[in-house]
């Protein structure tokens, strides 16, 4: 469940960018990596133990990195946006991999157990810690993140984003700064991914560059599509199904990619609305619009 909480937060952010702003990022794992490595650095190098501090720093780092990266990326849409984010993601990946003395290279870094709300829980056995305090802690963070995102998409800003997605020219002529809107969305989604990454750190106890590889970003988009990115809760559902299905398949056969590839192909071809789209309702609306948008 813990992995799910972390990824659910990431997906909330990704959905703002992909579902609401219509920008497909193929390098979003970059920000998960930033968050996770922030947790690793703070606990092992700087002796910062408070999880709250770690989360705040993770957000700050993500925003600091996302500001210039986003400013460059949001000037482009569609395939060029995807390519640019992919390039930045791989840039960070090769940095993590090659600067061995700083990041531990492909062995990664350990994430030590942080204090939660000021309590030192280092005496608690690992399993007890993860299913006990840390579980509820992550759940709370997820709940808060969901509420905040819910407010964001229902705010005037959320409406702006949607109008930008549907018709950027019209939105611009109505006085919305299209680029700035997309940039804000990029920053927010980066912060969400970073928080998710920071939560993921103590769960797995070890971070490595594999977290940032481009296939990871692909999997994130897969999760969003699986649940249905037209819907607020769709991507979270997607993350849930993805993670549990992956676990379930891996206990039987090691070939989860083959099965997931077939599922993804099936989804793309037959149910672009995702699971939420299959369940029906409003989700259909923009799912079908996205298909119609293929006529360039």
């Amino acid at each position: 469940m813990l992995t799910f909480f972390a990824y659910a937060i990431v997906l909330l952010g990704l959905n703002l960018l992909f579902g609401y702003a219509g920008l497909l990022s193929f390098g979003h794992a970059l920000f998960i990596g930033l968050g996770a490595y922030t947790a690793a650095f703070l606990t092992t190098r700087f002796g910062v133990w408070h999880m709250e501090a770690i989360l705040l720093v993770a957000i700050a780092v993500a925003v600091l990195v996302a500001a210039p990266v986003g400013a460059l990326c949001v000037r482009y849409v569609k395939i060029y946006f995807g390519m640019l984010t992919l390039a930045f993601g791989m840039l960070f990946y090769s940095f993590l991999l090659k600067f061995y003395h700083l990041t531990g290279g492909d062995e990664g870094m350990r994430v030590l157990r942080p204090y939660l709300l000021g309590f030192d829980l280092s005496e608690t056995p690992k399993i007890q810690f993860l299913i006990g305090p840390y579980y509820y802690y992550s759940l709370t963070i997820l709940a808060v993140a969901t509420l905040v995102m819910w407010r964001i998409v229902r705010s005037p800003f959320g409406l702006c984003l949607k109008s930008v997605r549907e018709n950027p020219v019209k939105a611009e002529s109505l006085g919305i700064s299209v680029t700035r809107c997309r940039w804000y969305a990029f920053l927010i989604s980066a912060a969400y991914a970073s928080v998710g990454g920071a939560l993921l750190g103590p769960t797995i106890g070890q971070v490595d560059p594999g977290l940032v590889y481009w296939t990871q970003s692909g999997n994130l988009v897969f999760m969003a599509l699986l649940g249905g990115f037209a819907h607020f809760f769709g991507p979270m559902l997607g993350a849930f199904v993805f993670i549990f299905l992956q676990d379930a398949i891996m206990t039987v056969v090691p070939y989860w990619r083959l099965i997931f590839g077939i599922i993804l192909a099936g989804l793309v071809i037959f149910a672009p609305g995702g699971l939420m789209g299959l369940i029906g309702g409003r989700a259909r609306l923009w799912g079908e619009k996205a298909i119609g948008a293929g006529t360039r």
């Binding site: 060029y80 840039l91 993804l264």
Partner: protein, 293 residues
């Protein structure tokens, strides 16, 4: 001097392979407007089948010197994969490019595990066949003759592609399609047939690249997803959809990579991605941007 030449030669060898894969990517993107992530998988597939074919040929008593024929035949035979994948992609031609990209990603996932199922997870190589042709010493640098053969083969393929695209009827139709799909269709071009042919050609370029590289390294299931990001760098630097771009981009990436590895290994891919980002930001169309050929 000899050191520089050594670096240059190994860079050009890598570039020769990269060019083949990137050319396949460009061709498909230029005509079908699909950024085919799966071309890395074709490359890996070519490598695995190439090793199997070379081993089988040698075991069957074919003289060792002819193993390269087995590799080329394996690469060409894998053309059968092209129409199959193209059939799958046919469902999404009219859709948003997001879906097209995701479908090719799904194909990448599937291929990776299929290769794992067939050939296992441990590296798989042709053993000593690499040095069957011996080495030559040029200006104080010793290079395996095989590397030179591959570079020559890649150049030959590049020239052949150029000839086909510019001089033949098929090439003219392909370029017209890339330029304006509706118009060529209105003029009586059978789009479906062209798509199948172009995609198959793109596939063969990838599988051939994989088959030719394999004596120099070992086949691994991750090689496809690793190569696709390099090929991606090549096409971005060269410009999406342009053949000349693929050629120049492959040289840039191949040589830079070799230089970085020998001088400052930490910078290896970092440098290439920095250039990619620079090109995307300053000149998103790439050095030779525009439509195909």
């Amino acid at each position: 001097m000899s050191n520089a030449l050594n670096i240059l030669l190994s860079g050009v060898f890598h570039a020769a392979i990269l060019f083949l894969v990137a050319a396949g990517l460009q061709l498909v993107f230029g005509v079908q407007r699909i950024f085919n992530l799966a071309c890395g998988s074709f490359y890996a597939l070519g490598a695995y089948v190439g090793v199997s074919a070379a081993r089988a040929a040698v075991a069957a008593g074919v003289p060792q010197e002819l193993f390269i024929l087995a590799l080329v035949l394996a690469g060409l035979a894998l053309a059968v994969v092209g129409p199959l994948v193209e059939w799958l992609l046919r469902f999404v031609y009219e859709r948003d490019e997001t879906f097209q990209l995701l479908l090719t990603f799904a194909i990448v996932l599937m291929f990776e595990d299929i290769m794992r199922m067939i050939w296992g997870t441990s590296p798989f190589s042709t053993g000593g066949l690499y040095l069957v042709y011996g080495r030559v010493t040029v200006l104080g640098v010793t290079v395996p003759v095989y590397n030179l053969i591959v570079i020559a083969a890649s150049l030959l393929i590049a020239l052949l592609m150029g000839y086909v695209l510019v001089r033949t009827r098929f090439g003219r139709i392909v370029r017209a399609t890339a330029e304006n799909r509706e118009m060529s269709e209105a003029l009586g071009v059978n789009m479906r047939a062209i798509y199948v042919k172009v995609f198959t050609l793109g596939t063969v370029l990838g599988t051939l690249g994989g088959a030719l590289v394999i004596p120099a390294t070992a086949a691994m299931s991750e090689m496809g997803i690793e190569l696709i990001v390099e090929a991606f760098a090549v096409v971005v630097i060269g410009g999406l959809g342009s053949m000349r771009g693929a050629f120049v981009g492959a040289l840039v990436v191949g040589v830079l990579r070799a230089v970085a590895i020998s001088t400052y290994p930490e910078l290896e891919m970092l440098l290439i991605y920095l250039i990619v980002i620079g090109v995307l930001v300053l000149r998103p169309r790439g050095l030779f941007g525009g439509v195909a050929a």
